[in-house]
């Protein structure tokens, strides 16, 4: 079967959630971490939470955010997999294009994300928030979806194979109610993905 792979970014490819790391720059890292965790567990609607979180962070120049994001550690075995199969792998994130661009371009595979409203180096707000469900109209089928937060539920629901990844932190409990597989070790995840090739 010629599967195409849709990977969540935060907490799946990155070794930590991205927004709390940016928030540290403003000294509000803890507040952001709590809000992010509640969102990943589906306790707060994503759109509402993301809008609040972007509002909290938009005073930081875009170039500074890009700089911070570029220092975030990645799961390198997964990145190697993505690069090896870049013609059938995608990063799917609700994070903003202007923030993540340098990071995802460095990884070097196609990405689908939310879009910002900005002027020069200043973020004005959110233009569109990606519905992860939409990827099924953009990525060739059958799709293997890999993620860990409640916001991945939609892309997993319509995927041929869904995998909850718990290598960075525990997957959202609601996700475990519907996925086909749960894997908590990066090497094991890569080994299994290769078995799907």
């Amino acid at each position: 079967m010629n599967y195409h792979f849709a990977f969540d970014l935060d907490g799946t490819i990155t070794k930590t959630e991205i927004l709390p790391v940016i928030a540290k720059d403003l000294g509000i890292g803890r507040k952001m971490a709590i809000l992010t965790r509640k969102t990943m567990n589906g306790e707060i609607p994503f759109d509402e939470s993301f809008t609040r979180r972007v509002d909290m962070l938009k005073k930081i120049p875009i170039s500074r955010v890009q700089q911070i994001i570029s220092t975030i550690p990645l799961n390198l075995k997964l990145v190697t997999f993505l690069r090896s199969y870049k013609n059938r792998s995608y990063i799917v994130t609700q994070n903003l294009d202007v923030w993540i661009k340098p990071l995802v371009e460095r990884i070097g595979i196609p990405y689908i994300c939310s879009h910002a409203n900005y002027e020069g180096d200043k973020l004005k707000g959110i233009r569109t928030i990606l519905r992860k469900k939409e990827i099924h109209g953009k990525i060739k089928h059958p799709v293997v979806a890999i993620g860990e937060g409640y916001n991945d539920f939609e892309m997993m629901q319509d995927a041929a194979i869904s995998i909850a990844y718990g290598g960075v932190h525990k997957p959202a409990p609601s996700l475990l109610e519907m996925v086909d597989y749960a894997i908590y070790d990066e090497k094991t995840l890569c080994q299994f993905l290769k078995q799907l090739l």
């Binding site: 597989y181 070790d185 078995q195 799907l196």
Partner: protein, 215 residues
């Protein structure tokens, strides 16, 4: 580490006959959960899949406290499916050979170690002892034992549920694993010292048996 075979441990069922309230793989035997006894024998395998359903979270927490490099396969329909469907989920994208090990089967460690070293297809049998066995007919062919038939009425030996088989022979036809294997007899057989736990009486007997085995 070996990746030449996939180990599938089926732990999705409710185990209602035992009435324990947890999945049977969490039954404490000789001081530790049954699933840990399995995992201790599987250290050298790097494709271990655990099919979970009923009580999945508790089971996953126990497994993850021991090792993280396993794959949990979900059987969300555990209330309406049986062991064959669970095994069928576990064998998807597996190696050529799979070993099927039930989460409610307690196996003598030495016997399990020898079984896991097998390089060809083989299934485990034992002298009939349980309340509701799947009896096996054992015949000698060329000096080796083979299972040549299954029945639910009578016999001297029963199937243990333990089998090493090529994955393409596991098809979703029938309710139980032996229904799928029936089409592939005769099947090489190996005597395995073990106890399956289905009822409170089985559990009591297994505890007594384990005292001598897990010293």
């Amino acid at each position: 580490m070996s990746i030449s075979k996939t180990i599938v441990i089926s732990c999705a069922g409710v185990g209602s006959r035992l009435g324990f309230g947890h999945t049977k793989a969490l039954l404490k035997i000789a001081g530790k959960p049954l699933i840990i006894h399995h995992l201790e024998r599987l250290r050298q395998f790097d494709d271990v899949r655990i099919v979970v359903g009923f009580n999945a979270k508790d089971l996953m927490d126990v497994v993850l406290s021991y090792r993280k490099d396993v794959i949990f396969v979900f059987n969300h329909n555990y209330l309406t499916t049986s062991t064959l469907q669970s095994l069928n989920s576990g064998v998807a994208f597996a190696q050529e050979f799979i070993v099927s090990l039930d989460g409610d089967l307690l196996v003598a460690p030495d016997d399990l170690d020898v079984f896991l070293e097998e390089k060809k297809e083989v299934m485990g049998y034992i002298k009939a002892y349980s309340d509701e066995p799947v009896y096996t007919t054992i015949e000698k062919q060329g000096g080796k034992n083979y299972v040549t038939g299954f029945n639910r009425k009578s016999g001297n030996y029963e199937w243990t549920g333990l089998i090493q088989i090529k994955k393409n022979k596991i098809t979703n036809q029938g309710k139980y694993v032996y229904n799928a294997i029936k089409n592939h007899l005769p099947f090489r057989a190996k005597y395995i010292n073990c106890r399956e736990i289905d009822t409170p009486d089985d559990y009591k007997k297994a505890l007594a048996w384990a005292k001598n085995i897990f010293k």
